[in-house]
């Protein structure tokens, strides 16, 4: 009785209640060993802030520096705590200097940059200018706004004094308008960074909140084990250690789900995921499919991708020396090679390989011949995509049928749920099928592809059968038979889907898939 598919009609009504539960527990049992599952954890913003705080407190404890300074240092070292500690142990003054933090060992000495008038003011604090101080200091004029009687003047540890209004406007501009976390002292040549304690004293609560949001975003972007859920408005991040490296993504397809149940690919952030194909294949395929549109053409002719992190980059001025805003990779815009070898040839690249141009023309002429082959796979892919888009309609139609069944038979609402389960399964499998066509397009002909396409065909057939059952008219006398058929088919389809996912995943691990293009 564990497997619901073997039941006969007469037994059904008696055993119905625990039937689904039993099936569920079997599925759960299976889930742990399936090759296509990846472990991932959904984290809220609060969870991430707690992790950041823990790291900062740890660093603060080791270095004997305030927590707000620890945040600055961690951010400077892209939140890599181990690397920061290692570097700090190596040469603390160098780390502090490059991170824009004042060296505590020299902090008690008057900084040479400090204007004499401001020495009496405590660092990093607000001070109200008092009239009663003994030797009357030269009158202070804020060098930014030229106010010679500002209510408050403040400075970072470096001692460069400005009025609090200017600080507020400056910090607001940096945080709100520029979304910048790295906020230097306003002095032209001063590298000291504003820390959280200082920022908290100056800015409004909204700006401070924004600053914290930026910090969390910076932390997540720089941590390869973390990724934000791409669903609009969703604030959860996923932690997935298994898929944190580029090489891991060559063999696993990390479809993950956040706490709000939004599914996406951890590797490339594609919403809904693209199982069973790996990110490289899905990306190639999507790019190919989009190539016809004007946008794609524009992107193709105006942008290039960072050779390290694949971010899309548009160059709209400046010289050929590109620095990726995201990963700081430096490369040449013309030949895409590493910048390190270019020296000072800012506006011309003599490393351009003429062969590249010839190859590009060759590829173009071949593309016409392969268009037909492409369309074969594309039409099938698009068909499943279209069906998935109509899923809301299908749910609505099915719900009507379920109501009808309730009226014409003595089944309860819970008992007619089998139809909804069938729809769930159809939608899920169409997504798998969709991506199998992208995969098949890139697979080299041979035994492996033949077996892959056999599995694909079995799933396709099963899904179409189940879809047909969902469309079949409701006749009161045949409802029990329909229910049985549909339940059986749903279980069968789920199995076929698992087989496709499992076999494809194993194929990636075993290196069984041979591609017809370079990946």
């Amino acid at each position: 009785m564990i497997d619901g598919t073997q039941e006969s009609n007469s037994e059904m009504s008696d055993n119905d209640d625990y039937n689904f539960d039993a099936e569920l527990s079997v599925m759960k049992g299976k889930a742990r060993q399936r090759a296509f599952d990846v472990e991932a954890e959904s984290l809220s913003v609060q969870d991430i802030e707690a992790i950041m705080k823990r790291d900062a407190e740890h660093v603060s404890g080791i270095f004997g520096a305030p927590v707000s300074i620890a945040y600055l240092l961690l951010r400077y070292q892209t939140w890599n705590k181990e690397k920061l500690i290692e570097r700090y142990m190596d040469d603390p003054s160098k780390v502090l200097a490059t991170a824009g933090v004042l060296d505590p060992s020299t902090e008690n000495l008057a900084s040479p940059l400090m204007p004499p008038s401001s020495r009496r003011v405590t660092r990093g604090t607000t001070s109200t200018r008092s009239r009663q101080s003994q030797p009357s200091p030269p009158p202070f004029m804020c060098p930014i706004c030229c106010d010679d009687e500002p209510p408050n003047i403040m400075s970072l540890g470096c001692g460069h004094m400005y009025c609090s209004n200017c600080w507020d406007t400056y910090l607001h501009t940096k945080i709100r308008e520029e979304g910048e976390l790295s906020i230097r002292c306003m002095d032209e040549l001063c590298a000291i960074q504003a820390d959280q304690t200082f920022i908290r004293k100056v800015v409004s609560n909204q700006d401070l909140q924004r600053y914290h949001e930026l910090l969390v975003r910076d932390y997540v972007t720089n941590n390869p084990q973390l990724r934000f859920c791409p669903h609009p408005g969703c604030a959860y991040a996923l932690s997935c250690a298994a898929a944190s490296t580029k090489s891991a993504l060559q063999t696993i397809v990390p479809t993950v789900r956040c706490a709000e149940k939004h599914a996406f690919c951890f590797g490339c952030a594609l919403e809904g995921g693209h199982a069973p194909v790996i990110c490289t294949v899905s990306k190639l395929w999507l790019k190919k499919c989009a190539d016809d549109s004007e946008t794609a053409n524009w992107i193709k002719s105006n942008t290039k991708e960072c050779t390290n992190c694949n971010s899309t980059i548009e160059k709209n001025g400046g010289c050929n020396h590109m620095t990726c805003k995201k990963c700081k990779n430096e490369f040449c815009w013309v030949c895409m090679g590493s910048w390190a070898e270019h020296g000072t040839s800012w506006y011309s690249c003599n490393r351009y390989d003429e062969k590249d141009g010839v190859d590009a023309r060759d590829i173009q002429s071949k593309s016409r011949a392969s268009l037909e082959r492409y369309l074969h796979y594309y039409n099938r892919w698009a068909n499943h995509e279209q069906s998935a888009r109509l899923s809301l309609d299908l749910y609505a139609k099915t719900e009507k049928k379920m109501e009808e069944m309730q009226i014409t038979s003595n089944l309860t609402w819970i008992e007619v749920q089998f139809a909804k389960k069938a729809v769930d399964e159809v939608i899920k499998c169409r997504k798998t099928l969709k991506w199998t066509y992208a995969m098949a397009f890139y697979l080299e002909s041979g035994n492996a592809k033949q077996l892959f396409e056999d599995n694909q065909a079995d799933l396709e057939k099963a899904v179409e059968d189940l879809s047909e059952l969902l469309e079949s008219p409701i006749e009161p006398e045949t409802i029990p038979i329909l229910r049985q058929k549909m339940t059986d088919k749903t279980v069968y389809v789920a199995k076929r889907n698992d087989i496709v996912l499992e076999d494809t995943a194993k194929g990636f691990v075993d290196g069984r898939w041979i591609w017809n293009i370079g990946m």
Partner: protein
């Protein structure tokens, strides 16, 4: 225009009327939003004898935000032939973008641009000048420049 901005600009204007840096002349200052200054190089350089005009446009957040600074291009003035200056007058200089500091001012910008021109070794336009000029936004502040070359 915010008070701090107009107070600061008034002070700068007073100072400039009193004395401009060598080679810099105040051409027109109708209001506190837009000034035009002429700029020439006095010593030996590739630009000796040429006179350029710079148009400064100050936003309400000046000096927290950098002003918009372009070389005037009209019947009378042309943009200098320099690898960081596009033919429409837009300038690719870090101090007008990411390296801007609120303690800089009109006078220091002029001096920096003078030295940028003075260290030029070859009179040429930036690569991709035609493409940039064709698609360039009206204000260079809407262009995301990448600053790499510290030599000229």
């Amino acid at each position: 225009m915010a008070t701090f901005s107009s107070r600061r600009l008034t002070k700068e204007l007073v100072a400039l009327r009193e004395e401009c840096p060598a080679g810099i002349t105040l051409l027109s200052t109708e209001d506190l939003k837009s000034w035009t200054l002429s700029l020439e190089l006095l010593g030996e350089s590739l630009f000796k004898g040429e006179v350029f005009a710079l148009r400064f446009t100050f936003g309400s957040r000046y000096p927290i935000e950098a002003p918009e600074v372009v070389f005037v291009v009209n019947d009378k003035y042309k943009a200098p032939m320099h690898p960081h200056v596009y033919s429409n007058g837009h300038i690719c200089a870090s101090i007008l973008g990411s390296e801007w500091s609120p303690v800089l001012n009109t006078s220091t910008i002029c001096i920096t641009l003078q030295s940028m021109l003075a260290s030029c070794k070859k009179k040429e336009r930036p690569e991709g000048n035609d493409r940039y000029v064709k698609n360039a936004p009206l204000s260079p502040k809407n262009t995301h420049f990448l600053y790499d070359d510290d030599s000229v």
